[in-house]
């Protein structure tokens, strides 16, 4: 067993002690990991820390974010954390930024002030953003994530180890829109329907509803052959679109009468209409509609009194006396909660109606969404959920405990000390396992992987994009592919004479001109359009990010291969691969030379967990419109609930220790795939099994 000659005895040298106290550290995130990290940093002697966090403190944070007290609820996490830490270590200089790390003030020069950047973030977009800035600023990044009992820490140093985006990151969990709308068969389908479709139609912004309903902005004139089932679905959607205004309360309509009308529309009329579409029920049992009159024969006397006495701030469950959040309500109780909560929204919180976004910390909203979802589940004979479980699913709540965050904070600081002491060969990607899930090990460190030559963030990347250039609009390309899939913030596009940009400082006529291009299909863009073989340059000056997209025109993408209407793959140009593969091979050789790990050491890709539960994305894929190059809609409401981002799933990739001889071959074959392909997902799943974890537990929220 060979370790770095100096590590860890170098920890006790005066040189390192001085370096620790003079170093400047940036902590991104003051939540679960952030609070623990700040404490561990100042107790280790760090003196100069800047802290960025956008969030405010919630009651549900208090079980692990130990710097916060009940009276801090609602205040800035960054500011309170800084203030409390200073009372523990008065000599520490802590600068707090109550802000989003993606704001332009945190630019390259800002990042360059620091010796180390430590992430304790809760969403993939921000992680990718910070990674790009760290790579551009050439500052070491230590990335981390936790979920339940498991967690991980990885180190990213430009030119030495892989960056956060060198390994594929699983894309967010998607649900076919047709399944959500017409043929749900799992509780989560009903919950997503309730939260993203029904709730938004009842209480959300009209434009959000439109975005979701239309699925995508497709260019006019795309026609294709559709299955009979697909046609039936489209018809159903047409009906839904026309009827949007019926979801809103009419002038002078009594709150309870309004709620009753919505109940009857959603669970009786719409359901009967769906049942009538026989094409849908050839292979599956049709749903049943609900009769309010038989569930609640005397609504007036049952609910009127309770509603009348309810005070502002009360919830439907409170006024109905349903106090056990672990209880699974029967149809009758679900109907009572649904009617009361909807009536309470329009009577007590009318100012918010029309602009609401589902918030898992809003009890009344949770009650409405879960009762509505359960009623739908009852129609489809799907098991109902308790309020507690349903809330976890609707809010995509990641399980979080203090102990895991504390351990991870320790492991982060260990890597930070290695970097400051120059013990770079001692750096490890470290994983925390649940007891008995990974043999005897609870904590295991692996050699970090070398950078991947074609990585779009730390290398020079070209990606291959296959789509229908005749039907895909510029707006779709920008929103769904460049911003969503590639996590670009402020895109600048160029291909020959075609140029497009966004961001501050543009003239009004420029903005107008660029906006005029958004609706055009790609082959109708200026300069002759984007065609098969076009190379589109994508830049984000703010992220110091650039890559080339090689476009292939494909008019008949199979829906199974491209549920969202495009295929994005990484590719290293043939001419360069020989050279880069050699370079990679030599790094790998060197790296495995001082590895002290067994060859079969398990290793996770650097996809840290979500620690918290804010800010994320659910992508809904329309599988039915697929033959006309599938439409994808997304809602910006909740979290990144993707199986892979959770280390709870213990995604294993094959061993990091690559035999010297095969390294060359491997780096040729393993082209960079910033987006996990379906083949990759299969591989990840397989490894999950080997890890001994039950993948279904973490993946399938039902």
């Amino acid at each position: 067993m060979e370790s770095d000659a100096q590590w860890p005895t170098t920890i006790f040298t005066k040189t390192l002690t001085e370096r620790i106290s003079s170093s400047r550290v940036l902590c991104v995130g003051a939540g679960g990991i952030g609070c623990e990290l700040l404490k561990t940093l100042v107790c280790s002697g760090f003196q100069n820390i800047e802290l960025i966090d956008l969030d405010t403190i919630e009651t549900s944070n208090l079980n692990r974010q130990f710097l916060f007290r009940k009276h801090h609820v609602g205040q800035s996490k960054a500011r309170i954390a800084a203030q409390v830490i200073k009372s523990i270590k008065p000599s520490a200089k802590i600068v707090a930024h109550h802000a989003n790390v993606k704001e332009p003030q945190f630019d390259l020069d800002f990042f360059k002030q620091f010796d180390l950047v430590l992430n304790g973030l809760d969403n993939l977009e921000a992680r990718r953003h910070v990674n790009r800035l760290c790579m551009a600023a050439e500052r070491p990044l230590i990335e981390s994530g936790t979920a339940g009992y498991v967690g991980q820490v990885s180190v990213h140093i430009k030119g030495r180890t892989e960056c956060f985006e060198c390994s594929p990151k699983p894309t967010p969990k998607t649900y076919p829109i047709c399944t959500l709308r017409n043929t749900p068969d799992k509780p989560i389908h009903c919950i997503v329907w309730s939260k993203d479709l029904l709730f938004m139609r009842l209480l959300g912004r009209p434009d959000d509803v439109t975005d979701l309903d239309e699925g995508s902005s497709k260019a006019e004139g795309s026609s294709s052959v559709m299955s009979a089932e697909g046609q039936a679905v489209l018809e159903a959607e047409e009906v839904a679109k026309e009827d949007l205004s019926t979801f809103l309360r009419k002038e002078g309509e009594e709150p309870l009468a309004y709620a009753v009308r919505i109940f009857e529309k959603v669970y009786k009329e719409d359901m009967d209409h769906l049942i009538g579409m026989e094409e849908l029920w050839k292979k599956r049992a049709p749903p049943k509609s609900l009769l309010l009159a038989s569930l609640l024969p005397d609504i007036e006397s049952e609910l009127k009194g309770a509603l009348k006495e309810s005070k502002p701030g009360a919830t439907a469950c409170k006024i109905l006396g349903l106090n056990n959040s672990n209880q699974k309500w029967e149809a009758r109780d679900n109907a009572r909660v649904f009617l009361c909560s909807l009536a309470m929204f329009v009577s007590q919180r009318s100012a918010e109606v029309g602009s609401m976004i589902f918030d898992k910390d809003d009890d009344l909203a949770v009650e409405l969404v879960i009762s509505a979802s359960n009623l739908r589940s009852i129609c489809y004979d799907i098991p109902v959920q308790s309020l507690f479980d349903g809330k976890g699913m609707a809010g995509n709540i990641i399980h979080a405990i203090a102990t895991t965050n504390a351990i991870i904070s320790g492991l982060i600081v260990v890597e930070a000390l290695k970097i400051l002491s120059g013990s770079l060969s001692a750096l490890r990607s470290t994983f925390l396992f649940e007891h008995k899930k990974a043999g005897n090990a609870l904590i295991r460190g692996n050699m970090p992987e070398p950078p991947k030559p074609g990585c779009m963030s730390c290398g020079q990347a070209q990606l291959h994009l296959r789509l229908d250039t005749g039907t895909t609009t510029l707006s779709y390309l920008i929103e769904k592919i460049i911003k969503k899939r590639l996590a670009v913030c402020v895109p600048m596009l160029q291909c020959g004479e075609f140029f497009y940009e966004e961001g501050e400082g543009l003239e009004e006529d420029e903005v107008e001109m660029y906006q005029g291009l958004l609706g055009r299909s790609l082959n109708k863009l200026p300069g002759g359009g984007l065609h098969n073989g076009s190379i589109l340059s994508v830049k984000d000056e703010f992220q110091h990010f650039n890559l080339e997209l090689i476009i292939s025109h494909v008019s008949d993408l199979e829906p199974e291969d491209a549920p969202e209407g495009f295929i994005l793959e990484g590719a290293i140009p043939v001419a360069k691969s020989g050279m880069e593969a050699t370079a990679a091979a030599s790094t790998t050789t060197k790296a495995s030379g001082d590895s002290n790990l067994p060859a079969n050491a398990a290793r996770l890709p650097a996809a840290p967990a979500e620690d918290e539960d804010e800010d994320a994305v659910v992508i809904i894929v329309d599988e039915t419109a697929a033959s006309s190059s599938a439409a994808a809609a997304s809602t910006r409401s909740n979290k990144e609930m993707d199986e892979g981002a959770l280390p709870a799933t213990s995604i294993m990739t094959p061993s990091s220790s690559v035999a010297v001889g095969s390294a060359l071959k491997r780096s040729r074959e393993q082209v960079v795939e910033p987006v996990a392909s379906s083949a990759d997902k299969g591989k990840l799943k397989k490894w999950k099994h080997l890890a001994g974890d039950n993948p279904d537990e973490a993946i399938d929220l039902s």
Binding site: E2, T9, T59, R64, R69, N440, L442, I443, G445
Partner: protein
């Protein structure tokens, strides 16, 4: 099952209820845990158990809080210098979680040692800042009183935990994920853990085992802790224990492990990151032990900065 959680408890504990469930939380609510010592590791463990909602968290450390307690982040700038470390910690812990009871326990006293320490009313004792001799004394009392014992040793680049839960029955989710299975673990005492047959050790055994066993035997012989001056005698003990002619050359006795022994002897300092790591692991397993759900560590846990490896070892005769 016990009464439901209060509204406040449900709101604050929401995220962890999703990790360990209602019943574990209810058992935690009635758990009584004593933490002995007031260094960084005691602060970590008591913080973690306070946040988890252990019904009673008590701290024993009579040292005046003006004295340097490395890494104890529970003592804040405004803690009065006249109070003891335990009092200052208790004050912070109580504010951290008003839903539980936090208590100050007298001792341990420098003259009478651990003998007078009140253990009776607790289910679980977490010992920090003690050498193996003191742990063994405390263990004898814990065995007699049927208390669960977790002992944490923190030294330089190393963290060691010894656990003795006597006979411990717990339940665990069966493979189907629905039903529960009952299991029972019988724990070895410290002496047994440190007398495990050498032939049973192999290269997968955590290298710190050699170190801890040599240190244990040094303390038994010399009735005191080892310092950096004692390295030659520690090496001698290690050779006697592990380099035997009767058994095949043991993987434990190698240069790398002797380097660890040297590092143990020369660096007594406490490192905050190691305290955070060990404190998190120990608290996780205290939660398992007091809730009788899920397998707790049996019976040693070793973590070393030399290899970033943290491993559970079951050591017994």
């Amino acid at each position: 099952m016990n009464a439901q959680l209060t509204t406040d408890e449900s709101a604050v504990y929401d995220r962890q209820l999703r990790v360990w469930g209602l019943e574990v939380q209810q058992r935690l609510n009635s758990a009584k845990i004593l933490i002995i010592g007031g260094n960084g590791i005691a602060a970590e463990v008591s913080k973690n158990l306070t946040l988890a909602g252990a019904g009673l968290v008590a701290i024993a450390d009579d040292t005046p809080c003006g004295q340097d307690k490395p890494g104890n982040f529970l003592i804040s700038d405004d803690s009065p210098a006249t109070s003891t470390v335990a009092e200052a910690c208790a004050c912070t812990l109580q504010a951290m979680n008003p839903l539980i009871k936090v208590k100050v326990e007298a001792g341990p006293h420098s003259d009478t040692g651990l003998k007078d320490l009140e253990l009776e009313q607790y289910d679980t004792v977490v010992a920090t800042d003690m050498n193996f001799l003191q742990i063994q004394d405390l263990e004898a009392r814990c065995i007699r009183l049927k208390k669960q014992l977790f002992a944490c040793l923190l030294r330089g680049a190393f963290g060691v935990t010894f656990v003795n839960l006597n006979s411990h029955s717990y339940r665990e989710k069966a493979a189907d994920g629905q039903s529960f299975e009952s299991k029972t673990l019988i724990y070895s005492n410290l002496e047994g853990a440190m007398s495990c047959p050498v032939a049973k050790l192999n290269k997968r055994t955590h290298p710190l085992y050699l170190v801890s066993r040599a240190v244990y035997h040094f303390e038994l012989l010399n009735k005191r802790s080892a310092t950096s001056m004692d390295l030659p005698s520690l090496q001698e003990i290690a050779a006697k224990l592990f380099k035997s002619d009767e058994v095949p050359p043991n993987a434990m006795y190698c240069k790398a492990n002797l380097d660890l022994l040297e590092a143990w002897a020369s660096h007594e300092g406490v490192l905050a990151p190691v305290a955070a790591i060990l404190g998190g692991v120990v608290a996780n397993h205290v939660i398992r032990a007091v809730s009788f759900e899920g397998p707790p560590i049996k019976n040693m846990f070793y973590f070393s900065l030399f290899d970033n490896l943290g491993v559970v070892e079951d050591m017994h005769v």
